[in-house]
């Protein structure tokens, strides 16, 4: 179907490219420990881009036999601004594993058993356990009028659990999830349950919030406020628009020398892995920060063309709209401290496991101020209880310029892999 579309487009435009994504997803929902619903969904979407008179037009459709897509793309091009865009030529593809035959073959009852095993591990008096199991299997096809033609299969499995405990007006909600191309092995399910159980246990005692400029250990789940600004600042488009605080500073030391952040599309079976991006550009491991030095930004073809730099293979396309640059897998290099060593090093401070309201306001500027959703008091080098009424504040760029410690275990959370990170001088205020 995609080659026919490109052929039709080719007769009326100088160049064209397209993606065709198909997907079948099964979702099982366990509510309060019981399997409550099973859903199946099927989706197919084509996204076509044409280049006509140096103008870009895009259109998409979910119809099985899309008609009118070429016309819609040409109409969109007719009112666009000109840009010099060169679609990529075919290039050899690296071998990247994005598909698991076992995951694709798993039946509804296999998936149900998987969810049930997690429910059972979490079953506990006074805990409401919600579990979601999802498996999708599909394919991605990318092609352009210069001869790029690639197809790869994708599976995505996710297993998520959330425990809610209410007593009086006190609500505790602790969740965790697994996401990858493969079904989780038994030990993965066990450690998911353990990680939730450990945090519920830590929260059993309430601890008064501390105050001051304190050492704070951010778990991977708790560190979004630190890394969201960097994620936005390393977007080529933000650099191009002149709104990135990291723009124009490649080669400059901006962070602690222990900080290295790589975008890695080649990790076997990780959620963001792919051999080729949605514009037919073959990606590679791209360091964004290397030993504290700003090393790279991510670009799609159009942003790269406007900025006069090479595309980095980060384009993502949905059925509707234009390609946008998006990270594949972000991997933060680990350090050498065990969890216990990190907690001991905090000595008197806080562990932050989840913040409220991350992503609101002027994120790219780096300043943040958030109440904690889940945080634990560390006193005398030990976790002593949950801290509720506190807020943490700081500036991500300043705080990350001196890192007091990095864990040696990297934890995968979706397409983000990172160790716990210990920062000093984080502002903590009681509420």
């Amino acid at each position: 179907m995609i080659s026919r579309l490109l052929e039709q487009a080719g007769r009326r435009a100088e160049a064209a490219d397209a993606t065709l994504k198909t997907d079948e997803t099964v979702t099982l929902l366990f509510e309060a420990g019981r399997l409550k619903s099973t859903s199946w969904s099927q989706e197919q979407g084509v996204n076509l881009r044409v280049l006509s008179g140096n103008r870009i037009g895009v259109a998409g459709s979910t119809a099985a036999e899309p008609s009118g897509v070429v016309e819609a793309a040409l109409a969109s091009a007719a009112i666009a601004d000109p840009v010099d865009l060169l679609l990529p030529a075919p290039a050899p593809l690296p071998s990247v594993r994005t598909y698991s035959p076992a995951a694709a073959a798993a039946s509804v009852s296999d998936l149900s058993a998987l969810g049930q095993s997690l429910v059972e591990r979490l079953s506990h008096d006074g805990w409401q356990v919600n579990v979601t199991v999802e498996r999708s299997a599909g394919s991605v096809r990318v092609a352009n009028s210069r001869g790029v033609e690639a197809t790869y299969d994708v599976t995505a499995v996710s297993l998520a659990a959330e425990v809610t405990r209410v007593s009086g007006d006190d609500i505790l909600m602790v969740g965790d999830f697994y996401a990858a191309a493969d079904l989780p092995a038994e030990p993965v399910v066990a450690s998911l349950a353990e990680s939730i159980g450990r945090r519920v246990h830590w929260a059993e005692q309430a601890a008064p919030p501390p105050r001051g400029e304190l050492p704070v250990l951010f778990t991977p789940a708790g560190s979004a406020a630190l890394f969201l600004p960097i994620r936005q600042a390393c977007q080529g488009k933000a650099v191009l628009q002149g709104v990135s605080p990291l723009g124009g500073r490649i080669g400059e030391r901006a962070f602690d020398s222990s900080l290295s952040l790589v975008d890695d599309p080649w990790v076997a079976g990780a959620p963001g892995s792919r051999a080729i991006d949605d514009e037919g550009v073959v990606g590679r491991r791209l360091p964004l920060v290397k030993d504290g030095v700003i090393a790279g930004f991510i670009y799609d073809l159009e942003t790269a063309a406007r900025a006069g730099v090479p595309a980095t293979g980060h384009a993502r396309r949905t059925t509707f709209g234009k390609p946008q640059a998006a990270y594949s897998n972000l991997v933060l290099s680990p350090g050498d401290l065990t969890w216990d060593e990190l907690v001991a090093k905090v000595h008197d401070g806080l562990i932050v496991d989840e913040l409220i309201g991350v992503g609101q306001g002027n994120v790219i500027g780096g300043a943040f101020s958030h109440p904690v959703a889940l945080a634990y008091r560390v006193s005398g080098g030990e976790v002593v209880g949950r801290v509720k009424d506190a807020a943490v504040a700081g500036n991500a760029y300043e705080l990350l310029s001196r890192i007091a410690g990095l864990g040696r275990e990297v934890e995968w959370r979706g397409s983000l892999a990172m160790p716990p990170i210990l920062l000093e001088g984080v502002s903590v205020a009681p509420r």
Binding site: R34, W40, T164
Partner: protein, 458 residues
């Protein structure tokens, strides 16, 4: 289409079956700085089937091909039978009805050429860009959608609707050396082309505010009396209270049910809160929810007492209450879940300045940039704020983040003005992976006697 739906329902072997079909046409135009990012028209179509059998769970199927409806019904039925349940799922009764509704289209956007939409946004965007030399970047967005919608179920309901929606958004970014500030404005209506006319003032005020924030000091963190403007008060009631009043949060959780027992005190006798899916032409307005239940005005807090909650047919049956028409799905790709529509705080009395009067040192927090609730804890970010000094509005301040505990904060609402207004923002609400769902909030100015602002101890 209705005949195909009837045939598909009749083919079902399940005890209960419902089918939703949607066919939408969307135009989207975006500018980034002076440049057109894109202008597209897209069509999307698909359907959703849900089956329930006695003693079994829900089976659901969603799909982008409408050619095999009966096969999709059979699949949903099979999936239902895959889930055995000891405690049966029951659905509250909703009288069957047949209805065809075309919501007011406010000059049908489908009749306006894409080029005209582009030029309209281009001129609004150019006004922002040209307002001040310190405006270095903008994002301007226009989006419209008209959804042809069909709903039917095995109880005999058959509905068809035409649902329009239009949104405008403006982001202005101002830069002065190392300082970068942004300001947002947006508009969302369940209407058409008429609703986006004469919006110059909104775009200019985004530019003016971004520039003004460059020179504004950061708010000094601490505990203050806080007056919320109508927009922020609306977002507050949605985030902090609204989500807890969604019955799917409490219906399976005995402790949560205790916490949200009807009759419990919430705030003072001046406080009345509700959710009204039947209000005219707002983003959350619809004649029926996505289970075919008529929408209505549901009072949640009446004069400081919890009196109601938001329901789907399932949560209503489970709790022995009445379905409120709040089962909503983002699209055919999703099942209906309990959601808000147009959530409001009812009018008190007096003016904004009356609320300032006896505040020695406080904060006037304006404009919602976003909010998040984590059950009883919430946080929301104001677009900007002003200090209140000796009962008067004083200097502009930035980085105003208000955080608190729901129960405490509701009790600390000590004044409610009489200047109610729907905020008609263009964003949306997210829950269970379904975002952005069109909702609106409305409120008068409200005063909280004490709230945490900022959080920096410096």
């Amino acid at each position: 289409m209705k005949n195909r739906l009837r045939d598909a329902i009749q083919s079902s072997r399940a005890d209960f079956t419902e089918i939703r079909l949607e066919r939408s046409v969307t135009s989207a135009v975006t500018f980034r700085g002076p440049r057109l990012e894109g202008a597209t028209v897209s069509t999307d179509e698909g359907g959703f089937v849900r089956c329930l059998n006695r003693g079994y769970g829900w089976g659901m199927a969603s799909f982008t091909s409408l050619d095999h409806l009966s096969a999709m019904v059979a699949r949903a039925h099979e999936l239902s039978l895959a889930v055995r349940l000891d405690t049966p799922i029951r659905l509250a009764d909703v009288p069957a009805r047949e209805d065809d509704v075309v919501l007011p289209l406010g000059e049908d956007v489908r009749g306006i050429p894409l080029d005209v939409k582009k030029r309209h946004l281009e001129s609004l965007n150019a006004m922002m860009l040209g307002r001040d030399r310190r405006i270095v970047d903008t994002q301007a967005g226009y989006r419209d959608e008209v959804v042809e919608y069909w709903y039917t179920n095995s109880d005999g309901t058959m509905l068809s609707e035409v649902r329009p929606e239009v949104t405008l958004s403006a982001v202005a970014v101002a830069r002065d050396q190392g300082t970068i500030e942004r300001a947002l404005e947006s508009l969302g209506r369940r209407s058409g082309w008429n609703a986006v006319q004469h919006r110059e003032e909104q775009f200019l005020s985004a530019a003016d505010r971004a520039v003004a924030l460059l020179g504004a000091p950061r708010v000094r963190g601490g505990t203050y009396p806080v007056v919320l403007d109508q927009k922020l008060a609306g977002v507050f009631v949605h985030e902090a209270f609204g989500h807890l009043s969604e019955a799917d949060f409490v219906y399976e959780n005995p402790q949560a049910r205790d916490m949200m027992t009807l009759g419990r005190r919430f705030g003072g006798p001046e406080l009345t809160v509700g959710d009204d899916g039947s209000a005219a032409a707002l983003r959350g307005t619809l004649p029926y929810d996505d289970e075919g239940t008529p929408t209505r005005n549901t009072v949640l807090i009446q004069n400081g007492v919890l009196v109601g909650r938001l329901h789907s047919r399932e949560t209503a049956a489970h709790m022995g209450e009445i379905p409120t028409g709040n089962a909503r799905a983002l699209s055919f790709r999703h099942p209906p879940i309990v959601r808000m529509t147009n959530t409001y705080v009812a009018n008190g009395s007096g003016t904004r300045d009356d609320l300032f009067k006896d505040i020695k040192l406080g904060i006037y927090a304006c404009d919602a940039q976003g909010g998040q609730t984590f059950l009883e804890d919430f946080s929301f970010t104001a677009g900007h704020g002003y200090m209140i000094r000796d009962g008067q509005m004083a200097e502009l301040v930035k980085n105003v983040v208000v955080a608190g505990n729901l129960f405490q904060t509701m009790d600390r609402i000590d004044r409610i003005a009489g200047d109610f207004q729907w905020n008609e923002l263009g964003g949306g609400c997210g829950k269970g992976g379904q975002a952005p769902l069109p909702v609106t909030e409305g409120a008068p100015h409200i005063r909280i006697s004490e709230a945490l602002v900022g959080g920096s101890v410096r």
